[in-house]
Amino acid sequence: MLFSLSNPEVAILMMGIFLFAVLLGFPIAFTLMAMGIGFGYYAYFDPVLMDHIFDNRIFSLFVQNTYTVMDNNVLTAVPLFLFMGYLVERAGIVAKLFFAIRLAAHRLPASMAVAALITCTLFSTATGIIGAVVTLMGLLAWPAMVKAGYDKKFASGIICAGGCLGILIPPSIMLIVYSVIAQLSPLRLFAAAIFPGLMLAGLYIAYAVTRAWLNPSLAPRPPAEDIPPRTEILKEVLVSFVPLFGLIMLVLGTILAGIATPAEAAAAGAFGAILLSWFYKTLKWQNFKESVFLTAKTTAMIMWLFIGSWTFSSVFSYLGGHEVFEHFFTSINITTWQFLVITQIIIFLLGWPLEWTEILIIFVPIFLPLLEVFNVNPYFFAMLIALNLQTSFLTPPMAMSAYYLKGVQKTNVELLEIFKGIMPFLGIVIFGMFLMYMFPGIALWLPEVLFAD
């Protein structure tokens, strides 16, 4: 025995060393692999069964786990949705949407902010990743707002928060990954995420409008002479919105109407994205080729994390690590409400140094067995986490969303200004989680209607 530690103690040691090792900055997939193999070698060390020192069962387990990641029919949807997202973000649709909606919304306070948020929301229904949205909007909407006299902090917050909606509103790579980790139906997760996603977008819009209404100097109204006649606005809106709406229907409609699996809808969506870019005359060989290469790269990035983490968690669970957590949480005698608050605070804190992939693949599995203990609906819990992970893009030091915006507006905005602008949106996300806790139907109503009698 390792320094006469019991197996569960070794499991805790393994988790501790892993947390430290992550901070060394080595690619996490391989850090997990190393921890899994190293501690697995210890866990499975048994002279009776070993012919020589390399004859340890951990190696078989590792290879088997690798194949298990390859042999997963739900995960096939991931490259397809990624492909669709890459094609759409190169189709030039964001600019068209933003300018059309901005005209249509001109009567509202903070009309450009509202337009930016609606554009982000619509675009979120066609892509399951972020990054592109923040940078595209950061190049289009941010300068437009600032030029019109909007407060920089206010404009930055809008872009950063709005740009992250794509990971929550289906189709979402995050929810597919979650469905595999928690063994939930991806269709139900998609259905469950629609209203929380729209609620969050709605709260953002309400916030923008209210603040501009209370303090018009934050977001001055556009001069009347800039507004084209109504028919022209309508035409702009139709040209930009209808093809995208078709694509959304193709993907989300088919999934939620129960006609297709996520992978089938994603394949149809990717094909639809090709048609869409053909329609907008942005279908270039270069774009297509890059979308193909990026799809493979991002797929591999996510899936190698799976390979590492399944080996890690197999060993962790073999050593009895999960039972330690279960035992700890049941022994401290907390209520369901307290359990939810504690887990969400942990996820929130993990979102500072880490990104959603690592949090989901490595840490969420630890909480999942506890849901039954505390009698928490797994879909409800999933939605709390999905909302919570929005903050992982927004909280420093690893606030990817802020970095993307800073990246495209290097000399025009300070990182600190962006963070100040983001703060209210962090509050809104937490308020959104509170609302969902009070009214779980926001998440659970739609799947109930769609999937049960």
Binding site: Y44, D46, V48, L49, R57, I58, S60, L61, Q64, N65, Y67, T68, D71, N73, Q183, L184, S185, L187, R188, A257, G258, I259, A260, T261, S314, S317, Y318, E372, L450, F451, A452, D453
Partner: protein
């Protein structure tokens, strides 16, 4: 040190084995049955042999259990042989193959006394597995399952998207059904959303634990697609041989004990859940029509013929089963009175009996 070892043997040191089941924990009767076996082993050994039972996915996924046991990643598994039919189609025959009149009980008899075990061991070896198998739980025939309506004709099911596993996929494909593979938890939502039109899992208890009654009200009992099956409990051979003779005997004989207990429990629970399905959930329960059963048997003949033609080992196994079935079932079926007659004598026509 040798002295120490002797002392340890003398006081029978406590051994803990890891078992991974193919079933989820929580409300799942198969997981419960795996647990019953583990409990028996512990009791029989006076607590010196313990089995740490893990649910599906805890260490490896379903399809990897055989490899995990062989390499010793876990010491034992709890699943069915149909789960390794991709490695050798004959695997399905050691659990859920053609009936030839046999129920699970007789297939298990063939395994132990009809030459089945030698063939089974050959099959295990042929796919590179390194384990010794115990068997338990003579499953009642698996229902044809859940449909959108009462299906009676073969034409009713032609082109229908249906979920099953093992050689049954080939049989029902041969019958003109479009067989799709879905993980257990996906069956119910897939059915609700029209991804599949029909599905089977295993029995009234498991099926209702999966929530099938929420998506279909037409349940068809009695089918030849999986008219017999039992759990396979693979045990890493090297690990088995490292145990004391007493422990080895306990692992083997506890499987026999679990075999009876599982079956008794199944009958009580399956029938209770059938009552629940009919009365609480208003599920219509039918017996699969003779027309469909006959077509299933034709499907089996076709599939067995095809596999036998291209795979000599498959043929050898089927021939052995046929020879065993021909003799034993002649006795059993001729000797067996028509039990239904006695039932109906007391309770009236079976279709009308309210339970």
């Amino acid at each position: 040190e040798p002295q120490q070892k002797k002392a340890a043997v003398a006081k029978q040191e406590t051994v803990t084995l890891k078992m991974q089941a193919a079933w989820p924990s929580g409300a799942n009767i198969f997981f419960e049955m795996a647990g019953d076996y583990c409990k028996m082993v512990e009791q029989m050994s006076g607590g010196t042999l313990k089995i740490d039972l893990q649910p599906v996915g805890a260490i490896v996924k379903t399809s990897e259990i055989g490899e995990a046991v062989s390499s010793g990643v876990v010491d034992m598994g709890h699943w069915v042989t149909a789960y390794w039919y991709g490695k050798n189609a004959a695997a399905s025959l050691f659990g859920t193959g053609p009936s030839y009149g046999m129920s699970s009980q007789e297939v298990m008899g063939w395994m132990e006394y009809g030459g089945g075990r030698a063939l089974y061991e050959e099959a295990v070896k042929s796919v590179g597995y390194n384990y010794t198998g115990f068997f338990a739980m003579p499953m009642p025939a698996q229902p044809f399952g859940w449909f959108k309506k009462n299906v009676t004709q073969v034409s009713d099911v032609k082109g229908m998207k249906y979920r099953t596993v093992g050689l049954a996929t080939n049989v029902l494909t041969a019958m003109g059904m479009v067989v799709r593979q879905l993980p257990g938890g996906e069956i119910q939502p897939a059915m609700k959303t029209g991804l599949i039109d029909a599905a089977e899992f295993n029995n009234p208890t498991s099926d209702s634990q999966f929530g099938m009654q929420d998506v279909s009200k037409h349940y068809h009992l009695g089918s030849f697609h999986q008219s017999q099956e039992m759990f396979e409990i693979p045990m890493n051979t090297k690990r088995l041989n490292s145990l004391s003779p007493a422990h080895q005997a306990i692992l083997k004989n506890a499987a026999y004990a679990a075999n009876s207990d599982n079956y008794f429990k199944a009958l009580v629970r399956y029938s209770k859940d059938l009552v629940k399905l009919m009365n609480e959930h208003k599920v219509n329960v039918y017996q699969t029509s003779d027309a469909i059963l006959a077509e299933q048997l034709k499907g089996w003949d076709k599939i067995v013929g095809e596999f036998s033609a291209k795979d000599a080992f498959f043929k050898k196994v089927v021939d052995s089963q046929k020879a065993y079935a021909k003799r034993t079932m002649k006795y059993l079926l001729m000797n067996q009175p028509n039990y239904k007659l006695a039932y109906e004598n007391e309770f009236g026509p079976i279709a009308d009996v309210k339970i």
